[in-house]
Symmetry: C2
Subunit: 315 residues, 2 copies
């Protein structure tokens, strides 16, 4: 039963935030969305061409970088040589208080304080402290492996009067009622996902997922991710490598590091840089890479994509 639909893998379980990011970023396509249990599996699926794209969390505006993704991008044993970053997607993390269908037909206004147990991922408790301390003091809290799992448990319960903290997406997927939306303390908690493709697969070069932010009409920046390693013992090597970006007009937007694991206290650096797309600086990334090859022990171009953090999304 093969079909021509795009295959997009995301980090499971079903109805996870990664699932939501994959669904939203590929909404214009008829893509088949496939859960994978681990970050490594998702990278492998793209490398092995069993999937066309992967949607992978890269950083969260509150918690910072996703170390598992950086470790795969370090690609210390050259497992993912054909994998490339071709896009990004920003997902704002909204939590809802979810209950079994029909429990509170009139929504939160009819809530009578009868909920005796709450389920969610450990991180979500701290993100919804305002609502929890105001209305759910003393109510039993049960940690589960994901917010989606919390929704699934509540959907399947029959006797208990429990609720889950999870996304609207998980509510729809597991068929729960939303007692209250947007219960998170911080409205701006956002996760950035990278979209991966295989450079050898022609049909994915089209970037069927791309969408332009409706509030942006003028400025669109290109972003590029480059990883490199420098000799620790060589004084000034890191500064010299970073200078190369500036010399070619590439604006550094983020730097991350991970241990090289070749030798203690040596690092793989991940630099993201941006520039406006123009005829003039079309070759800037390639020229910078050529210089980096001379100034570093190793370096790799992970690809260039359209910055989705436009002025519209940023404000």
């Amino acid at each position: 039963m093969s079909d021509n639909r795009l295959k997009v893998v995301f980090l499971g379980p079903l109805a996870s935030f990664s699932h939501q990011a994959a669904a939203e970023s590929f909404k214009k396509t008829n893509a088949e969305l496939i859960p994978h249990a681990s970050f490594g599996d998702a990278f492998s699926a793209v490398q092995d061409q069993t999937a066309d794209f992967a949607v992978i969390p890269f950083e969260n505006s509150t918690n910072g970088s996703v170390v598992q993704t950086l470790d795969l991008l370090a690609d210390r044993t050259s497992l993912y040589t054909d994998v490339q970053v071709c896009g990004e997607y920003y997902l704002t993390v909204h939590h809802c208080l979810l209950v079994r269908k029909g429990t509170y037909p009139s929504g939160c206004s009819g809530y009578d304080g009868s909920i005796t147990k709450l389920y969610t991922h450990p991180q979500a408790w701290g993100q919804c402290e305002g609502l929890l301390s105001a209305h759910f003091k003393g109510v039993e809290r049960q940690d589960v492996s994901s917010t989606s799992k919390a929704a699934e448990i509540v959907a399947k319960e029959t006797g208990e009067s429990s609720a889950a903290i999870a996304s609207k997406f998980a509510a729809e997927y597991h068929g729960l009622d939303i007692l209250k939306e947007n219960i998170e303390d911080r409205a701006d908690n956002t996760t950035r996902f990278l979209i991966l493709r295989n450079t050898r697969v022609e049909k994915t070069a089209e970037l069927a997922f791309e969408q332009r932010c409706s509030s942006c009409t003028t400025w669109i920046m290109n972003k590029t991710l480059i990883s490199f390693a420098v000799a620790h013992s060589s004084a000034g090597a890191l500064a010299n490598a970073l200078l190369i970006f500036k010399a070619h007009g590439l604006n550094l937007t983020s730097i991350n590091t991970r241990p090289s694991l070749k030798r203690a206290w040596q690092y793989v650096f991940f630099v993201e840089c941006g520039q406006a797309p123009s005829a003039e600086n079309k070759e800037a990334v390639l020229e910078a890479l050529s210089d980096l090859h001379h100034a570093t022990e190793s370096c790799r171009n992970w690809g260039t994509w359209k910055d989705q953090l436009c002025s519209g999304a940023d404000s």
Copy 2:
């Protein structure tokens, strides 16, 4: 019962790797070593002057930066304005297989395969996979919150025939026999600790803990930690800030970032830089800071200390 001994706090529990690092780095002193349950508590103890020094894990050669420490160094609400980094200590992580005293009087050569249960911290299983797969296939594994806790459990058991994976330091502390030493797969797994003091406490300026590596006679480098934030929207701001280090002869040895939490996708950068101590470049750090104050939104000098990763320890 007050005394004049130095008070050194570390990240508990007792017999943890932090405890070991504190004991080894302050071995020449008669310091009182005090466990603290959280990273924040240890920082607060130094700020509040209830402790003279704190010994805090900063990075591991395999796992990378310790995010909790970076978040405290980001000091987003100015809680730790008097805290300064005054030293570092490298602790190589060695694991041992520990059993109750007298169980195997002849050590590993007398081991008869009777151990039915193993205890350790989840991370340690992966670090000792070689020994475990060779000799302990199918033996029940119980995760506990620390390797020290594992040693404590085994020390207290009476009926069971169990073993713990923990340090020699924990074996001595909890009174266990070492069945086998250095059972880790990687010999070079090392954690770097920072030593903190309060700039207002005169008596800690002496750095009673300092010790020179016996294999180093010539080169000693000074290291400095500086944190700063730059305006995300300002093109080239990060590169310009990094250039300042180079301009003053300060060699960048590491860069870390954490979210600023003031605005999404803005970061606090942590830059470590080194230079040989000499009359000529005595003012380099202060001059660089003066320039950084103009080039960044905010910056902070976390202090300068003697690099302990000498050529002796590095090779």
